[in-house]
């Protein structure tokens, strides 16, 4: 059973805070749920399905369902794939709505890594029971060096340069200047990026995303419910999800799971990369964007460096406007999980409600892609394609 056209996104909310010292984690989830439902014109009692990931405190979805008083839930899902979880949730909610399991699905993400660090709380530590842990952790893998090795290999195989990667950050900064909530609003140049301190060769500080608190939420509904609401509805056209890992030691760091999640989403939506007017692409690091754009088919494998250069990702300038909210590189990466905000900006673009300076004209079809985990070892990839009513 397909999902194309069988569900709609009718409510979204991005928490404006970027440091949540005065808020608890459950409180953030609830504020986000309230914001997303208000945007949709629905109440909490309309919610009959709840989706969350590992950031939600408690036993899967149960504790947050209790905290928020969601009394009519008959379908729940706490699939955890790191930062891409929320795009997986959009896919799963679309499937559940299409199958008649629910009519109003709420998805929330919240995090407070900035506040937790200030309060001296221990950092989240990788699961020692994971089978890879004994053989990898002794060598000091961290988020940055595990993405850096992908960039290093991509440069080796395809001649990609630090300057080309820098263009991704430059484009994000051009967009972030118009977002009053963005963590970083200054426009930066290629020189600024390549001259920023080296964190893990070849990634510089400005190749890395921000760390922020906050979160976001989505309300998805059946076509019947969507028609009863006043809000501009955004149709879910297709979605795909895929794991990628080290394949028993056959390591290839030059591509991501988007190689599989993307084609599934395009096939279901019945569109091609050429039809996409706007793309939200997970940008934990600049290299994440570059490999993903290749894997999704926006350019050939190995040509990502050329594709992202010279402002090609800047709205109003280039051929593929991306991350017009400033993305994780400049705007927001709440709880170190960027998939939610990717969907939110894609919805704004299809609604025509992005900032006027970055709104893409006639944005009838948009894409959002998430990469959860580590590009340099194992990840969950997820792609969703959204459209307006005519799409």
């Amino acid at each position: 059973m397909g999902i194309n056209g069988k569900s709609y996104i009718v409510g979204i909310y991005e928490h404006p805070c970027r440091a949540a010292l005065d808020k608890t984690l459950p409180q953030l989830h609830a504020e986000i749920a309230k914001g997303a439902l208000a945007d949709a014109g629905l109440s909490k009692d309309d919610v009959d399905a709840y989706f969350c990931a590992g950031d939600a405190p408690g036993l899967g979805p149960i504790n947050m369902i209790e905290y928020m008083g969601l009394n009519n839930v008959r379908h729940m899902d706490s699939t955890e794939t790191g930062g891409s979880s929320y795009i997986v949730h959009v896919n799963h909610a679309a499937q559940a709505i299409a199958a008649g399991h629910c009519n109003v699905a709420l998805i929330t993400l919240a995090g407070r890594p900035v506040a937790d660090a200030k309060e001296g709380k221990p950092v989240r530590y990788y699961n020692q029971q994971a089978p890879d842990f004994p053989f990898e952790m002794p060598y000091g893998p961290n988020v940055t060096n595990m993405y850096a090795m992908c960039a290093m290999r991509h440069m080796y195989e395809y001649g990609t340069t630090s300057e080309q990667l820098a263009w991704i950050k430059v484009a994000a900064s051009h967009h972030a200047q118009h977002n009053e909530h963005a963590r970083l609003r200054d426009v930066v140049t290629v020189e600024d990026v390549v001259n920023s301190p080296m964190i893990a060769d070849p990634l510089h500080r400005l190749d890395c995303c921000v760390i922020t608190d906050g979160g976001g939420g989505i309300v998805m509904v059946s076509p019947e419910v969507a028609k009863s609401l006043k809000r501009t509805r955004v149709k879910v056209l297709g979605a795909g999800e895929a794991p990628k890992h080290l394949a028993a030691g056959q390591v290839d760091l030059t591509y991501s799971g988007a190689r599989w999640s993307g084609p599934k989403a395009f096939a279901e939506a019945g569109v091609t990369p050429a039809d996409i007017k706007y793309a939200s692409v997970y940008d934990s690091f600049t290299i994440t964007v570059l490999e993903t754009l290749e894997d999704l088919g926006f350019c050939k494998k190995g040509e990502g460096g050329k594709f992202v250069s010279d402002g090609n990702l800047i709205s109003g300038v280039g051929k593929l406007p991306f991350n017009t909210d400033g993305g994780g590189l400049c705007n927001n990466h709440p709880g170190n999980r960027g998939g939610m905000t990717k969907v939110l900006e894609a919805v704004r673009q299809v609604r025509g409600e992005a900032h006027p300076k970055v709104q893409v004209r006639n944005c009838d079809i948009a894409l959002a892609h998430g990469t959860g985990g580590l590009l340099g070892s194992r990840m969950g990839s997820a792609t969703v394609i959204l459209g307006n009513e005519a799409a």
């Binding site: 990788y126 053989f135 060598y139 000091g140 992908c150 580590l374």
Partner: protein
């Protein structure tokens, strides 16, 4: 995953990994191979991830390989080099490159295994330019 400092080795010795660490303590780099499909894999598992046979065993690797990719974690004190080394046996493993000038490390460089002290009599396989 949030370790910026590589100052503590977290060896996890369990029933699946114990022979691997015992081998390293004796100066042997072990990889797991399957007697049914004849393919090697890494990290080692009891059930073969290629064919799902349970007829797997540790075998000693040559200890030779080439650097597939690497990165220098510059903010750590001291900076360290993380890498994937592709072993001559055809599987790649996450490791550290040690005992050389950090800025001269290159992808494709030939390396060989050596063992660094990991506490409790155990040792950690790391690689150095051949």
């Amino acid at each position: 995953m949030n370790t910026d400092q590589k100052n503590k080795i977290n060896l996890v010795v369990n029933s699946e990994s114990k022979p691997y660490w015992e081998g390293a303590a004796k100066g042997q780099l072990l990889i797991r191979a399957c007697n049914a499909c004849c393919k090697a894999h890494h990290y080692p598992r009891t059930i073969c991830p290629h064919c799902f046979s349970d007829d797997t065993a540790f075998v000693e690797a040559s200890g030779n390989g080439v650097i597939y990719s690497y990165s220098v974690t510059r903010q750590a004190k001291p900076p360290y080099v993380i890498a994937y080394v592709e072993l001559d046996e055809g599987v790649s493993m996450l490791t550290n490159i040690v005992g050389c000038e950090i800025d001269k490390i290159r992808i494709g460089q030939k390396v060989r295994v050596e063992f660094s002290e990991a506490g409790d009599g155990y040792a950690l396989p790391v690689f150095t330019p051949a």
